[in-house]
Structure formats: C-alpha cells, structure tokens
Symmetry: C2
Subunit: 546 residues, 2 copies
C-alpha cells in the first residue's frame, strides 16, 4: 500500500472546545439552571471552566479510561463535564435518571464508575441507592456552596463550584489515540439488562461531521439551538459537539421541559432550532395554540426518537411556518442515522406531498450505510415496497456492547452489520420508512400491520390527543391491533367515531378491532411510549373472534 504523506493528527474532543474558545469565543452558552436562574457564559469562559474541572479531576486521582458518571439535566455544568472528562482521557458515563433504580444500580456496577456528578434534584434518589453503587468513591453535587443540600445526605459530597475554584487554570491536553473511549451510554432495551455503547473520540467527531453535512445550515453562530433531548441520552444527539464546532449559541433548558417553560425560554433567548422527541413538540404545540403564536425566532425543529404524527408535523409547518426535520437513529449509532434531506425538486411539490415525504424517517447521512434483509439475512431491494429488518454500518456505529459478549453476539450479522430491531422499507431514492419495531408489529394472519401507521391516522382524528397501537392475542388471526387512545382536553370522541375515521384512511384489515381509553400513555425512561407497559396492562384484553 502506498500511504499518503499527511500528518497523523488525531480527532479529539478536546480540540473542539479549544477551537470554540478561540474562534467562537463570545458565543454564549445559556442555562435555565436547576436553581431557577438564567446563567450565561461564553465558549471562552466555558473552556476556562473545563480546564479547571479537568485539573480538579486529575487531582482527585482520575486516570485514563476511568468511567466518571453523571446524573444531570442539560446545563452548562453537564456540558463542562463532557469536555473535561474526555479531555483527560477518561470516559464520561451519562446515566439516565429516569431508569428504574435496579437498572441504575446495574449500570453503575457494570460500568465500574468511580465518581458520580449529580444535580441536586437527584440527591434523594442517590441517597437511597448509594449503598448499591459499590464502585463509586466520590460524589459531587453540580451546584455552588449556597445550594448544597442540607445535612449530609451523601457522606463526603463535594461541591462542584468549589472543585472548579481549586482547579489549576492551564492544561496541555494529552495527545490521545483517536480510538480512545470518550463516552459511555447505556440503552435500556425492553428486555434484559441495559447495554452500553462505548463511544470513541473518533466516532464522536466523525458523527459531528456527518450530522453537519446532512443538516446544512442548522448550525451557525447566529442561530441559537435548544437541546430538549437530554445529555444523558446518546450524547444529546451529538449537539454539544455540533454547537462547539460551529459556534452556535446553546440554550439549555435544565429540568423544565414542559410546553410553557420551553416556550418562554425559546422566546426569551431567540432560539432558532430545537431538537427533541415528538412528545415534547406536542406539548410545545399546545402552548403555541394557546398563545396563538410561535416562539419568536423558532424556525426549525429536529424531531426523532420515535415517529412524529403527520398531523403534528403538518400543523407546525402550515400554521407556524416551522421547518420540521425528521430524524431517526439509535444510541448505538451515536445516535443519528437519517434526517429529512429533500431535493430541490421535492421542495416544489404541493404541501401535502411534502408532508408525506417529511413523515418518512429521512435519508441516510453520509457515513451511515443501510440494508434491509429478510429472515434469512438476504438483502432486499430498495424499492419502497420490500419490508425487512434494517441493518446499519458506519464509523459512528458500535462494534459491540461494552462488556457484554452475549448481547454483542445477538446484535450483529456475520458481516459485522448492526441489527437495529426495526422493520423498514427504503425507497429507490433513499428514503427510509420505518414500518415498526420488529417487536411492535402486529402479525395478523399472514399480514404485518404497522402500529405506527395506524397511530398516525388515529392521532389525526378530532378529539384524539394521543394514541398507541399494540398487538393483542386473537383466536383466529393470532394477533390483532388494539387502539389505546388519550382524549384531547374537553373532547369526548366515541369508539365508533374513531374507528370510522381510521377505516376511512386504512385498508380494512389494518383497522383496529377495538379502542380503549386511558388518561395518559406510559413512557419509557427515554420519553417514548412504552409499548411493553401497554402490552402488560392490556394482556387480558379479549377481542371477539370475528
């Protein structure tokens, strides 16, 4: 092999914050803090704090490769931890505080975390769990002395701001191998123990570049970005790295993610782009309808994590002129895989056709390869009709689960592609259309019914606020769909009205056999509708054998 003669310089997370501190020095990082105030600091100030934090970590004995855990909201302090921990060659392990306690205990022990940085919100939780957090030697509260919890709920609890004040102000970042681990995030499957994705500096940097290329124009110093997606969830979709590279102002919402709080913060801080899951956008939309306007500067929303209802999408676009970008990904993919990327021709189509296209999960970003396969692993054509399990490959996709051989064996095919657990079609021009999660499909006789398709139609029915479809056992067809509905406030649609609405838009065999009403839908730790909990709740539901 004839090698190029180019410098062997590694892709490192530390170089991002150094760059931002120099070239985007005055761009702001704004936080609605846990303490209730609005905090502002520039990228230059942020780097200065990151350096102090890194030096404090070194003084506390943190070594390369150590896993340092966080249990925190989206705040400037959490942001600083991302860069300080990885900068010195340790691993920033973000723990999802919405997990079940036994899952957190499993994760802390499996990862062998030696420190935990936590927001004061989580002190009561950690107080209960700390005896099971065996490997953790040091706890740090993400606050200043004035807001430290009273008493000593966690013995030896350190104060973050004091730690920083004691850290030295200068550092030379170590020249790490770019394949060094830099972050760890566990994904809570619906079965089995949580599984860890161990990101490298290289994969995080490349993921940043890949998203940037696919979402051109979304990241600029003039366009403040608000991450509703939590930093404890798959790198907050890579946003902390994207804004640092491009100097986009970063407006972090802290713990308050309801429609009113988000609207006010977006309005006040002139937020241009928001990134988060559909439930959040439903909440914000309610608030926009109440006030009869959008947050002043809000121009683009990236929605992902689960499918967004076509009706929600169309309302945002038509009534408020907000550009919706639909994304799909997985924790195992760093996490973005596809985003809406319309061609100039597609942008000239009639509105409804554009919404049809935007309802799809997007087109692959550069750096992500996709294939759909049948049950025997044979590739299926990208013809927009063939349905198969989706497999992916790319430089920002995991090659295995951290310390979990069994889960690794189950997740990859013989050629090393990662199985997503999604059933999908791919159009000839590259649009990904998710049919369903493999396990959420309703297998009715010889036909597959996509729960997502039915939900999308049901949510468009007047008086329906939210809806979910699950499979329930059926004496004749093996499984049939059951529609679970949350009524809109003040509305009272009947079962018959809803089924008539659905029947008008779907094939007969796709129409649910029954409708049940609930006050709210159960959510998973990552804010998605928990089909698992619904299946348990309605396990005894009987359909008539028609």
């Amino acid at each position: 092999m004839l090698k190029g003669q180019m410098m062997d310089r590694p892709l490192l997370v530390s170089s991002l914050i150094d760059y931002a501190a120099e070239v985007h020095a005055t761009s702001p990082i704004v936080t609605a803090t846990v303490e209730g105030t609005i905090h502002r600091q520039t990228y230059a100030e942020t780097r200065a704090r990151v350096v102090r934090l890194a030096n404090a970590l070194l003084r506390l004995g943190v070594k390369p490769g150590d896993r340092i855990a966080t249990m925190a909201w989206n705040t400037h302090r959490h942001f600083e931890l991302y860069f300080a921990i990885s900068g010195i060659g340790a691993v920033c392990h973000t723990i999802n505080p919405r997990l079940f306690p036994e899952q957190m205990t499993y994760i802390v022990n499996h990862a062998q975390d030696t420190m935990l940085f936590l927001d004061t919100t989580f002190v009561p939780l950690v107080e209960k769990l700390k005896s099971s957090f065996t490997p953790i030697r040091t706890y740090v509260a993400l606050t200043d002395r004035a807001h430290m919890p009273a008493g000593e709920p966690i013995r030896g609890l350190l104060c973050y701001e004091e730690l920083l004040a004691d850290g030295a102000p200068d550092i030379v970042w170590p020249d790490l191998d770019e394949n060094t681990a830099c972050a760890l995030c566990y994904t809570s499957g619906t079965t089995g123990d949580p599984k860890g994705a161990l990101y490298s500096h290289r994969s995080n940097l490349l993921h940043t570049f890949f998203v940037l290329a696919a979402a051109q124009g979304s990241f600029m110093p003039t366009r403040p970005i608000l991450p509703v997606v939590p930093m404890f969830h798959a790198n907050a979709w890579g946003l902390p790295f994207l804004v640092t590279l491009t100097g986009a102002p970063f407006v972090m919402p802290g713990p308050k993610l309801d429609g009113v709080s988000l609207f006010d913060l977006m309005d006040k801080e002139k937020v241009w782009g928001g990134w988060g899951v559909p439930t959040v956008w439903l909440g914000l939309l309610d608030e926009m309808k109440k006030r009869g306007r959008k947050p002043e500067s809000l121009s683009r929303i990236l929605t992902g994590g689960s499918a967004i209802a076509r009706a929600t999408l169309a309302t945002y676009e038509r009534d408020y002129g907000i550009d919706i970008v639909h994304g799909w990904g997985m924790t195992e993919m760093s996490p973005v895989g596809t985003v809406t990327q319309m061609t100039p021709e597609e942008r000239t189509l009639p509105f409804e056709e554009q919404m049809d296209i935007k309802s799809r999960q997007g087109r692959r970003m550069y750096g992500v390869e996709m294939k759909i396969v049948d049950a025997e692993g044979n590739r299926l054509p990208h013809d927009g009709a063939s349905q198969g399990e989706l497999y992916v490959r790319g430089a920002a996709v995991i090659s295995g689960y951290y310390g979990n051989e069994a889960a690794t064996r189950a997740a990859f095919d013989k050629d090393g592609w990662f199985g997503t657990g999604d059933v999908a079609t791919i159009t000839p021009d590259g649009w990904l259309v998710l049919v369903d999660r493999t396990k959420d499909l309703v297998k009715s006789g010889g036909e597959w019914i996509s729960s997502i398709d039915v939900e999308n139609v049901a949510i468009g029915c007047p008086g329906v606020a939210n809806a979910a479809v699950i499979a329930v056992p059926h004496p004749k067809w093996t499984e049939r769909p059951l529609l679970v509905v949350v009524k809109a406030p003040g509305a009272d649609p009947s079962k018959e009205q809803i089924l008539a609405h659905v029947a008008a838009k779907l094939a007969k065999w796709q129409v649910p056999d029954d409708v049940v009403f609930v006050d709210s839908l159960p959510l998973t730790a990552t804010g998605k509708i928990s089909k698992k909990d619904l299946r348990i709740a309605f396990a005894e539901h009987r359909l008539s054998a028609q």
Copy 2:
C-alpha cells in the same frame, strides 16, 4: 488505553460518490466543455460513468498505488477521473499545464506516472514533450471519437468516451485503509524543483469536513457552485469532494476563465457561489461594471491563493451585495487553512470596519492549528502585533514531500510543524493577517515592509488596474520598495499622483521609492503575480541614494 467499541470503517473518497448517487441523485454537474457545448449529467449518472471508468482502468492494468496523471481543465471528465482513480486505490496526479515544459517533464518522471489523461487542448504540448515522459505507457484524450485529434500526434492515443463505453457497469470498491494515498499534486516553488503533496483518503475527507464546518451554508443542493480554481491546483480547494458530500450543483467552466465567459455561465446556470483567485474576480468585476449588474444568483465568492485588494472586496460587497469570503491555504494543506468567519457582533459593525476584517486572511478552520515563531523558533504571542513565520499542523497537512527528503527536512520544525514561508500576525481573537511571503518582504534598514500592504493601497488609486511591489537593492537601506503598475484602460495616472495617493495612507518609510509602468504583470503557473519574474525584470533598476 481503553478503546471505544465502534466500527472501524475507513474514510474513503469512493463513499462520497456512492452517497451522492443515492441521496443527491438528481443534482446536476454542468460543464462548459472543451468542445464548446454545455454538457449536463446528474450525480447518479456521474457515478455510473465513474464505475465504467474504474473498470476500464483495471482492465488497462492499473494497480493500487499507481500514479495516473491528468492534464485537464475543470470538466465532468476530470471530475470522473478524481473518483475513479482513487476509488480503485490508485493515485490521481493532477499536472498543472501552465508549468514550464521542463517542470512537467521533471514531475512526470519523479512521480513515475504510467498513464496520462489529457484534454485535446494539450495535445500539441504533449506531442512535443512525450519523448521526455519516459514512464508513461498510455495516453488518453478526454473527448469522444468525433473530437479526437486528426492524424496520430501521440501514438496509440486512446479515446476517453470509448474507454468508458467498454467499462463494465458494476463495481465493489475495495475496502482500502483510509491512509492510502489518493491524490498527488506538485507545487511549483520559486526555487528548486516542484515538490509533491501526496494526499490520503483520510486527509481529503477530513479536509472536506473541516471546510464544511468553517463555511456553513455554502454547500446546499439549492446553491450551484462554480470552481474557477482549477482541478489541477490542490484538489480545486477540495470542491469536488465538498459538492459531492452535500449535493451542491457543480458548474464547471472548462478552459474559458475570462470575465465574459464566467459572467455568462454564472448567469445562465444560476451560480450561487464562485471559488477562485483574485485576478479572476478582477476580470469578472470589470464585466459586471460593463453590464451594470452581477450574474443573477451570484451571492458568495470565496477568494484565495493571494491577497485580494481591499478596494475590490469593498466594491463587490457594497455595489453588488456579494458576500466575499477570504481564504488562505497552501497546496501542502489540502489546501484550505483559514476563511473569513465573522462573529454575529462583527457583522453589526460599520461597513468599513467589516471590510477591514474581511481583508484579513480569515480565522483558522477546525482541524488546523497555527503558530507564529521568531527566527529562533520561539512562539510569539497572538497579539495582532508580533510578526513571525507561520507554522501549521493538522490532519490535512502534509508530513513530508513525496520522494524528496531534502525538501522535507527544510520544511518542518523539530516538533513536526510545517513552515508556510509566510510572515504573519495573529490577533487575540484568532484572525490571521499575512504580512508577506518571507521572500517578498522588503527589508529596508531595520524595518520590514509588507509588499501586500503597499499593493493594497496602490490598487485603490484611481487609474491603477493592478500593482505589485518588489524589493530592489538600495545603497543605503539595503532594499527599498519599487511599485510596478498596470494602468486601467483609458487612464493615465502619473508617477507623482500614485505616490501621493500611497503616501496619504502609509507611513513615510513604507512609500515606494519609484514607480514603473508595465502593460501586464507576469503570472505564475497557478495564476498568481510572479514576483520572481518581476525581480528579474527590474534587477537593474537603480534607485537614488536618498
């Protein structure tokens, strides 16, 4: 070291054209051909041709690592060669046809090129030189059968379109190591033999990402880009990779780079952005003044290669509303190092102050590190005042010259940084200001005079079309500046008028001692003003010993 558990997928040029063919399938590549027609093909069609070409190369016996030379204008065929040659693991060696014949002979033999693809324009040239092109076994004319040269000026000359027609339509690209060499470009210094920069797949991909991050919004499927910068010059600044990644339409001007031809092509093809050297923008500006308007859609120009006069810059911005982005780089840097990146605050400054900022060479893009050092190699502060030689480091900077140990030893410092040969200052907020090429500085007594500074002022003088400053020997001050002026058409400024204009804007010791008038300035092979030729021409010029 704890490694991340991420897939080990290489960054390869072939993945770019595959991506474009799928996600940006219908985006066009337009060429004003050597034959005089306008040719259109989509990215999908381009990939199909690239695959046929790659298979044809394999059939002709091209092996991994082989150097395959091109001598060609910016056309779709040259574009196809970029991807086909590198796709199969060979090296695309772009030869600058404006070099001296002896330099071309040196380069072909030094690189050991085995094939040469040439535009028919260059058949007479190659006919003369071919006996000295010892290693070349195969010549291919970049045209179809109808336009092949008459007779047999080059024995066995193949026809490009016939080659393609014979190539098989499918390929599985080899899974190369990302550090594999993919392209080779010789830079013609003012002294010594040309020196080769041997790019890798990795460095070309990373350079693409780095430029993308620094030039946000410049590359979109809705914004056609015209590369005036030739593809035989440092990867055409990376544009073939940038447009392929982002799906931007690519409008290639072929051999005609005069103001009239460029204006017409830009106008017709709704070009949004143009990339090239200042002399080209002077030519286009003349044409815009004649027609009293800009090409309809032209909105942004990236200028680099040499400093642009402030007056030119300001005219583009003020009179035509065209956003000028000023860049700086070197063949050895793939080539971009810095570009204009203004903060939101800087964008609100008064116009003249904004032009002052844009006159600077820009701020470093992510992935490029810079330092300025004194004669002993000590780092100087980035204070906007300290002048030193500029050194750079980064993943897209060469680590040595191809097959040239002596030149390599001379170009790098002990820490492995590359010496640019430029003298510069860097402001505290990261703006690069080039003082001059080390060898173009006028060393007057104990003071350094920047030839660039004086030229910028002189070009703003009414009646001056272009200007260059060189050092000439002086009995008292060792060197003093001599101003060489090209008068504007129809204008006749006097020596005294010009010197008075300059004296009003510069310190007394910076004012040239004399002015000489020429019809045109000599250019180097890359289109820059050749100070070397001017120094030779005016070697005998005597200044009075005042």
